[in-house]
């Protein structure tokens, strides 16, 4: 069994306008040591999926059903205390915005050490701070001893994200969830942080769930890819398969929008239209309204949901033969016009 296995996860927010099912039947799995990328455009439910798994959403405003088993235990049903022991120790998280994710009134060192001591009551203060210093050094922060005494506002965004990474990895978790860890940073810093994550991947044994908009990053970093659309998984496959043999029309759209895969015109290709409202999602395939190949069945029947992730899986009504010819055609176009923009 996989280290982290999510099955038919559904998360509903109770809003003033009605119930919003932000995650609707998501399944995927993460093997130990693997890097799984979750891609999809803004609002498709990537963050909510991971927050649901860690039970970090307010129970008063949302409800999650389904299964999320981690190391044989269902995260959605274990008691709070047990969940707290897993958070930060077995499963850690790096958030999107390092500017707001650290508490402004505590020193960096205190915040890192907190992560350590919450799970290791026996460790002495001195040892904990030494460990924090090592971690800061490991994530490439110069003069780590002094930095322990800094406050978050004294560090740049990139440095703060390094601190967040140090904090997330200090307990050597089995799973690290990185929710768009570079989106809020400038381009140079993004590259540095990605480089750091790549390097740490080799030093730490953690599996990584990497949430991103950027398929370029996926290609470099991930083993498996899960493509989400409007609260559902539309395609999931090993990374090479996604790039060599993409099967879902939405994935084609995403790949088309990759810089360097510019399809001939000057403008970046992007999927036309916008995702459906989750307050009142369409009955059939959710991508239909934007799909160039939609058929009548797409309007009435939702495609079969992906449950088995052992191989390349896709949720689409299109004929597999047709999809494969499309994929081949797509790849040949994409490869032909791979000029730098």
């Amino acid at each position: 069994m996989a280290l982290l296995e999510v099955k038919d996860l559904q998360t509903t927010f109770f809003t003033d306008d009605g119930a919003v099912r932000a995650v609707d039947g998501v399944s995927f799995s993460v093997e130990a040591g693997q890097v799984v990328g979750i891609v999809g455009e803004s609002g498709c439910g990537k963050s909510v999926t991971m927050l649901s798994i860690m039970r970090l959403l307010s129970a008063r405003h949302s409800a999650t059903t389904g299964m999320a088993s981690f190391d044989g235990e269902d995260l959605l049903s274990i008691p709070n205390k047990k969940m707290r022991e897993i958070r930060g120790k077995q499963i850690s998280k790096i958030f999107q915005d390092p500017m707001t994710s650290l508490n402004p009134v505590y020193r960096i060192g205190v915040q890192i050490v907190e992560a350590l001591r919450l799970h290791d009551k026996a460790i002495s203060r001195v040892a904990a701070f030494d460990r924090a210093e090592q971690m800061l050094a490991a994530v490439g922060i110069p003069s780590p001893r002094e930095r322990l005494r800094s406050y978050p506002h004294e560090l740049s965004g990139g440095m703060r994200q390094r601190v967040m990474i140090a904090m997330a990895l200090i307990n050597d978790p089995k799973v690290l969830i990185a929710d768009e860890p570079t989106t809020a940073l400038d381009v140079t810093t993004q590259a540095q942080i990605l480089e750091l994550i790549r390097k740490l991947r080799n030093e730490f044994s953690s599996a990584v769930v990497f949430i991103t908009h950027d398929l370029g990053v996926v290609a470099e970093l991930c083993d498996e890819v899960v493509v989400m659309y409007a609260g559902k998984v539309v395609e999931s496959a090993p990374v090479d398969e996604i790039f060599e043999n993409p099967q879902h029309p939405y994935t084609w759209g995403l790949l088309g929008s990759l810089p360097g895969r510019n399809l001939g015109n000057d403008r970046l290709y992007s999927v036309p239209g916008s995702p459906p409202s989750l307050l009142d999602p369409p009955t059939g395939c959710r991508f239909m309204a934007r799909c160039a190949h939609a058929m009548s069945i797409c309007e009435t029947e939702p495609p079969l949901e992906i449950l088995d992730h052992s191989e390349h899986a896709v949720a689409c009504h299109l004929d597999p033969g047709f999809r494969t010819t499309q994929a081949i055609a797509f790849r040949s176009i994409a490869n032909r016009v791979q000029e730098p923009r």
């Binding site: 860690m54 970090l56 707290r84 022991e85 897993i86 958070r87 930060g88 120790k89 850690s92 998280k93 958030f95 915005d97 707001t100 994710s101 650290l102 508490n103 402004p104 009134v105 020193r107 907190e114 992560a115 919450l118 799970h119 406050y151 506002h153 967040m164 904090m167």
Partner: protein, 343 residues
């Protein structure tokens, strides 16, 4: 931190200087020009002869040009009355007697006493009232605000919101009088007014005289602070760093108090400093309702009787209280909130 402290102190000094100028202009030139009030005439009494008024005018230094009067006022405020002042104001008295008659803030027309001493004699009442009130409103509003933020839209929260509205709209004198009627007259639980000085051996008389006024004074503050704490906590609980704390495995208590509360408290501390500073300058309505002889009632009496030095003295004193409270709070905040020290 040292530079920050110095900057705050300089800022405070310049604010106080500005206030002295405003006070001088308002109680000197403006008063005489707009309403034909001559301080010398008031000082000299109703049926004074013109010569008497002129003599009084000399004694008070009112015959001098305004800029010189202002200079004298500032010098006296900082250094205390000098020999010339003393010779004018208390010619035939000993040093000790003279100290009773004139101080840094001058001499009261009405009471022929040093304004410093007048204010000083009222400090105990006013400070006690402010402190008891503050203790009450802080110890009610913070738990209430935090609890209702933890369970927004719960029954507790809704009841709190209603009480906040009531508390904020009830006038002090109304609540005070009702409280007096039920708790001091019909049921003689509390004394019906007045003040007893604090004594270590027996603090109860002091406290019993201050509980009703303290609650009355605290009512609106409790409502306001509960609302602010609730809002601040709701905001803080929605912050990313709170989610980070939870993601680290922190328990609910730790998350709420160590991470959210400390941040939510920062704006409250600022406001608290200002309010306490303001109250040290006298709580006029509460003092009047409960017959407390504090700085608030001193200023009202003085204003009624055109006692210019006392009125302006109280105004200056209040301003100084507010400025000092402000500086104390700023320095305190700089200790609690590391972001402030830089700018």
């Amino acid at each position: 931190m040292i530079r920050y402290t110095i900057r705050r102190l300089l800022w405070g000094a310049s604010v106080i200087l500005a206030v002295t100028l405003a006070v001088f202009v308002l109680f000197g030139p403006v008063l005489q020009w707009k309403s034909n009030v001559e301080p010398a005439r008031i000082y000299a009494g109703k049926n004074a002869q013109p010569e008497q008024i002129e003599r009084v005018s000399k004694i008070l230094g009112l015959d001098k040009p305004f800029y010189e009067q202002y200079g004298i006022m500032i010098r006296r405020l900082v250094l205390g009355p000098n020999q010339a002042d003393k010779e004018r104001m208390c010619p035939n008295s000993t040093e000790a007697e003279c100290d009773e008659l004139i101080g840094h803030l001058g001499q009261s027309f009405e009471k022929r006493r040093s304004v410093d001493k007048l204010i000083f004699s009222r400090l105990g009442v006013t400070f006690s009232l402010a402190l008891v009130g503050a203790f009450i409103w802080i110890s009610i509003s913070i738990p209430v605000g935090v609890l209702s933020a933890l369970r927004p839209r719960s029954i507790f929260d809704r009841i709190t919101v209603v009480f906040i509205l009531i508390g904020q709209s009830l006038p002090v004198y109304y609540f005070g009088l009702v409280a007096l009627y039920f708790l001091a007259y019909t049921n003689k639980i509390f004394p019906p007014g007045g003040y007893m000085a604090f004594q270590w051996s027996e603090p109860w008389p002091w406290l019993s005289h201050l509980l009703l006024p303290g609650f009355t004074l605290a009512l609106q503050f409790t409502a306001l602070y509960a609302r602010l704490v609730r809002g601040g906590m709701l905001d803080a609980l929605g912050e990313d760093y709170v989610r980070t704390a939870r993601a680290k495995g922190a328990g609910e208590t730790r998350t709420v108090f160590k991470h959210a509360f400390r941040n939510a408290l920062l704006p409250i501390v600022t406001l608290f400093g200002l309010d306490i500073g303001l109250l040290f300058g006298g709580a006029i309505l509460t003092e009047a309702t409960f017959g407390l002889q504090g700085i608030g009632s001193l200023s009202v009496d003085a204003a009624y009787r055109f006692d210019v030095p006392t009125t302006s003295g109280v105004v200056l004193f209040s301003a100084i209280c507010i400025v000092v409270a402000n500086i104390v709070v700023d320095l305190l905040l700089a200790v609690v909130d590391p972001r402030i020290r830089l700018d």
